[in-house]
């Protein structure tokens, strides 16, 4: 599996524009809010956590349709399924690559964006702490949705329609933890959801990949 992850990372590096595109989308979408709502610090700091979370969710969706799409079109998916890894292993490796190339960069850049939106500095560690399981969950559920919609007509439209509703609980607990004076409960909940999705999403995605390859 390590070999597959390294090869996929090398491919992502060669297509670095894709990663840069979702990061730029994240920054630009976040930047639009002060323009729409005015630069008042009270308004901005009140919505900062929610804006960063929603923009991160939307930005992480962008590379999902190529996650399996390119492999499906050029025949690589067959080779991945015949690589000796179980199908859920292939799906999990893709999840890891999606998180490393999209989730992790978003996580890193979320703090500067939050500062720009006037989030109080003492809340920044909590923002990053909630986005850590949040982006991982998004990679897991996004991989599942990408596998399910593989080969479907208009997969790029279907995928957010599947992923975003699944992400609502994560969004609720993630964004509320940042504003809450007692964030531990919400963080535990995020951790629990991550632990549940960790085995289930790759299993589902693996089954969907097998079905798509038939």
């Amino acid at each position: 599996m390590m070999g597959m992850i390294l090869r996929e990372l090398k491919l992502s590096l060669r297509h670095a524009a894709d990663t840069a595109a979702s990061l730029l989308f994240f920054i630009i979408a976040g930047t639009l809010f002060p323009f729409a709502l005015g630069p008042g610090p009270t308004t901005l700091s009140a919505i900062a956590a929610g804006v960063v979370w929603v923009c991160a969710l939307l930005a992480a969706l962008l590379p999902l349709d190529r996650l399996f799409g390119a492999d499906f079109e050029d025949g690589t998916l067959d080779l991945l399924l015949l690589s000796g890894l179980p199908a859920y292993g292939v799906a999990f490796a893709k999840t890891v690559v999606h998180w490393l190339t999209t989730g992790l960069p978003l996580l890193i850049i979320s703090a500067p964006l939050a500062v720009m939106l006037r989030m109080p500095a003492e809340r920044l560690p909590l923002l990053v702490l909630t986005l850590l399981p949040g982006t991982m969950l998004l990679s897991l559920l996004g991989t599942l949705a990408a596998a399910i919609t593989l080969g479907a007509r208009r997969a790029a439209v279907l995928m957010p329609l599947i992923t975003l509703p699944l992400m609502i609980p994560t969004l609720i607990f993630g964004a509320s933890a940042i504003a809450s004076p007692h964030p531990a409960a919400a963080l535990y909940m995020l951790g629990a959801m991550l632990l549940a999705a960790l085995p289930l999403a790759p299993l589902g995605a693996g089954a969907a990949l097998r079905a798509a390859a038939e």
Binding site: H15, D74, G75, L82, A87, E214
Partner: protein, 188 residues
């Protein structure tokens, strides 16, 4: 003793029965050429043998045991060459395949070249080199010679014979007459 035995295989694609009751057996060093008109089910049979398409009926046995029970183990016995070359334009030829297999298909001078600059025939040769480099016992090849020139077909045949000489097995669908020895044919 046959290493690979197919017993009364049947495959559906969607609602359509593609073929039924297909049986054959293959020993080490053997080659099976699939013949049949377009749409006769050659590709479906190859996909079923790889475990990509589920069997509706029948059994595939490897050394007497059900081969498709443990798909990851079965996958490691197989080298797959489908319709598509599965060549990544952003990677170089040398990043797809390393070792002497690249030279065996005449692509050694292009090892540093990004695969997007290769011609269609060269990409096919790269895909063949990947099969040769896999070290797998059973090669499943779907129209391997599409787009190949005569010299490349000769190199491909040489690779096949070397693989068989080392005890490997090949199942291939092709419309091109290939200069192979001791060929078994299966009409679909």
């Amino acid at each position: 003793m046959h290493l690979l035995t197919a017993l009364k295989l049947s495959v559906f694609r969607g609602e359509r029965l593609v073929f039924r009751d297909v049986s054959f057996s293959l020993s080490a060093g053997g080659i099976l050429v699939l013949r049949g008109a377009n749409g006769a089910g050659k590709s479906s049979l190859l996909r079923a043998l790889a475990g990509l398409t589920p069997l509706a009926a029948g059994e595939l046995r490897w050394a007497g045991e059900n081969a498709l029970e443990d798909l990851p183990t079965h996958a490691r016995r197989i080298a797959w060459l489908g319709h598509l070359d599965a060549v990544k334009p952003a990677l170089t030829a040398g990043e797809h395949v390393t070792g002497p297999a690249l030279a065996a298909v005449g692509l050694a001078p292009f090892a540093e070249l990004p695969a997007r600059l290769l011609s269609a025939g060269q990409k096919r040769r790269l895909a063949i080199a990947r099969v040769a480099a896999s070290g797998a016992k059973l090669w499943l090849l779907d129209e391997p010679t599409t787009g190949l020139d005569t010299a490349s077909i000769g190199k491909f045949v040489a690779l096949c014979e070397a693989h068989r000489g080392a005890g490997g097995m090949i199942i291939v669908s092709t419309h091109t007459p290939l200069d192979l020895r001791d060929v078994a044919e299966l009409a679909l």
